[in-house]
Amino acid sequence: MTAILSTGRGPQESRLSRAGALIVMLVFTLYFLIPIWWLFIASTKSSSQFSNTAPLWFADFNLFENVGQLVAYRDGVYLKWMLNSVLYAGLGALLGTLFAAMCGYALAKYRFPGRDLIFNVVLGGVLVPATALALPLFLIFSQVGLTNTFWAVFLPSLVSPFGVYLTRIFAASSVPEELLEASRLDGAGEVRTFFTISVRLMFPALVTVFLFQFVAIWNNFFLPLIMLRDEALFPVTLGLYSWNSQVNQIPELRLYVLVGAFLSIIPLVITFLLLQRFWRSGLGAGAVK
């Protein structure tokens, strides 16, 4: 039985190397999961138990009371921040993906002068960290009076050079010229062809771009820090940070920061779980081609 299995599955690995691989995986799994576990445990404790009970195991289970307090604090400003984050990240990633798809598709499927130059500039954009752009953006937005508005965070989120890069590669390999020819012969315009045929073929790549962009905007911190003054516009990252910076003065904020941080990763987890299957097939499809 084992002999059949091992011959059927390529070269046989030694028991030792398999155990080694397992240990490495186990160590890294723990390395990634322990902080999340710690955060979960910490959010279930009352503030007096937080510092004097075991950090990785439960004391009294106060999670729901804590969440209640967090949501009630300052008229529910935390919920407002979560909503802002969902809006910035959800809408921003959706539109960002659409623009990246159109741009990448055009670069892959049309021939026009300056095509390579544009692509190279976009590729250069991948190399410039978003943090480096925040201050120049602030000075530009100041001139047009857009700082401290929803747009100050939303507009820069629509740009995804990496998305353009990925969709271009993907469009080049997964949207056959023949199909486009056929659709043109049938009388469909370029826009209609793009939305009815190409987008469907590119879907796995688009999900990947959306996911990357969603996570990037959700975790974006520096841009909102520089742009926003009005607490009502804060995304959850900036809100928690500003609470955390006041822990010395208002110690009860520590609990809110912990519980708030724990709740704030839930939307990310949900998004990942929902989109995971597209994501996997997307990467696989790209790799095989």
Partner: protein, 440 residues
């Protein structure tokens, strides 16, 4: 190849930054503007990070329909708000008013970010309302000028575990020499008398302040840096000695480890500011009722000198079109009983006015401290803080350099004094790099 692209991108970027600056900057500078009331309704913007400041401003807005203040909050100064102020000053859209801690005021002053309120008669007339040394912190040593209205202060005293000292028959130290003796007795029980803060230089600065030192001086044109004056040396040697003899612990402050040391009776005293009362109460809830507050230990028996740790002010930024109204609001915020009481309730703000120290809330006994009216101790300390201590224009850098040295000293590399010496030369370099004149 990649490098080349990055270089191109960087060049494009810096061009954007430069054009952004040149078109708007360089209209600051002429700070000593007139201070006349405006006609009609005035709208002001105010940035602060005090939790609950909105409710206080609401009270003002109700009483002053002609001067409406819009308040904005965010992270505390060093966590990003100061940097935002500088960005906004550069872009020409700074708020009218902003909260600035005393140690950051000189930095804004040398960058011409602050309006000189010396022209506002009402502000100058309020001078005597404020605790003397706080006025020194906002006038930056100039007699006819004032660059902000003092908001709160952090006079220092000694928090101690009254129960443990009594049970073990150890006398409450009143001088630093007695403190060291007490430290030995406490150590014999297995605990530490206190924790030396290796990362937070402000506590150390407060102790230097108490000893009569002053790290910076500005004679109007030149800055003098003196991190190693006799007082600083004395304080550094004293604590170095305690560290060497293992009489104090050195866990990083503001961590759970630190809270835990106090909560589990492993640390018995804390030489801290008035706002520290709340830090202990929340960090060490199991020790409620067992604490008390005494005057800080003195260098010479019979002396009475206190240090200060923290405190902030309300400043008016250059570029504000309504300095008169802004100053009026800043004065109300920091002198009226109503505002001071609200600020104390929502964020434990300890007033900078003489009158404010007698607020009814500050006369009550505090349960956590066994019912002791602890604010009386701090009120007395506040009157004993020296007026001479001044901050420099590059404090963030100074703090970083000295705290790196302190951390090294705690782990056995070099001494606290070495850290100060290094911090001194690094600070002088930083000032020179910013073309700020320094006398050596």
């Amino acid at each position: 190849m990649n490098l080349k692209r990055t270089a191109v991108a960087a060049a494009v970027l810096s061009a954007v930054v430069l054009s952004g600056c040149s078109s708007t900057g360089s209209d600051g500078g002429s700070a000593a503007a007139s201070c006349a009331p405006a006609e009609g309704k005035v709208d002001l913007s105010f940035t602060s990070w005090i939790p609950g400041i909105e409710e206080v401003v609401d009270v003002w807005n109700k009483e002053n329909p002609d001067i409406q203040v819009k308040v904005q909050t965010g992270p505390n100064g060093n966590s990003g708000t100061y940097q935002n102020f500088f960005n906004q000053l550069k872009a020409g859209n700074a708020p009218d008013l902003g909260q600035i801690e005393y140690d950051a005021l000189p930095n804004f002053r040398v960058q011409n970010g602050l309006m000189d309120l010396g022209a506002c008669d009402e502000v100058m007339a309020a001078k005597d309302d404020f605790v003397d040394w706080t006025w020194g912190q906002v006038s930056l040593g100039e007699s006819d000028s004032v660059y902000a209205v003092p908001q709160d202060s952090g006079p220092m005293a000694m928090f101690y575990r009254a129960d443990l000292f009594e049970q073990n028959g150890i006398a409450i130290p009143t001088t630093w020499a007695e403190y060291k003796e007490a430290a030995k007795q406490v150590r014999a029980t297995g605990a530490y008398i206190t924790n030396f803060s290796q990362g937070d230089i402000n506590q150390f600065a407060g102790l230097v302040w108490q000893a009569g030192g002053s790290w910076f001086k500005n004679d109007g044109s030149d800055w003098t840096v003196d991190l190693t004056d006799p007082a600083s040396k004395q304080v550094a040697d004293y604590w170095q000695d305690l560290i060497d003899e293992d009489l104090v612990s050195t866990v990083p402050t503001w961590t759970t480890e630190w809270d835990n040391a106090y909560n589990s009776s492993a640390a018995w005293t804390w030489n801290s500011a008035v706002w520290g009362a709340n830090s202990i109460a929340s960090g060490a809830p199991d020790t409620a009722g067992k604490w008390a507050v005494a005057k800080a230990p003195q260098w010479k028996a019979g002396d009475s000198a206190a240090g200060n740790w923290g405190g902030s002010s309300t400043a008016v930024f250059t570029g504000s079109e309504h300095p008169y109204e802004a100053a009026k609001f800043a004065l109300w915020l920091n002198t009226s009983d109503e505002a001071l009481t609200m600020l104390n309730k929502s964020a434990n703000i300890y007033p900078a006015t003489k009158e404010g120290l007698n607020l009814p809330v500050l006369k009550e006994g505090v349960d956590f401290y066994g019912g002791q009216p602890i604010y009386d101790v701090f009120a007395e300390a506040s009157s004993e803080v020296s007026e001479d201590f001044a901050w420099g224009p590059t404090m963030t850098q100074t703090y970083n350099d000295v705290s790196d040295g302190f951390k090294a000293a705690v782990s056995g590399n070099g001494t606290l004094l070495d850290a100060l010496t290094k911090g001194q030369s690094a600070t002088i370099d930083a000032l020179k790099a910013q073309s700020i004149p320094v006398k050596e």
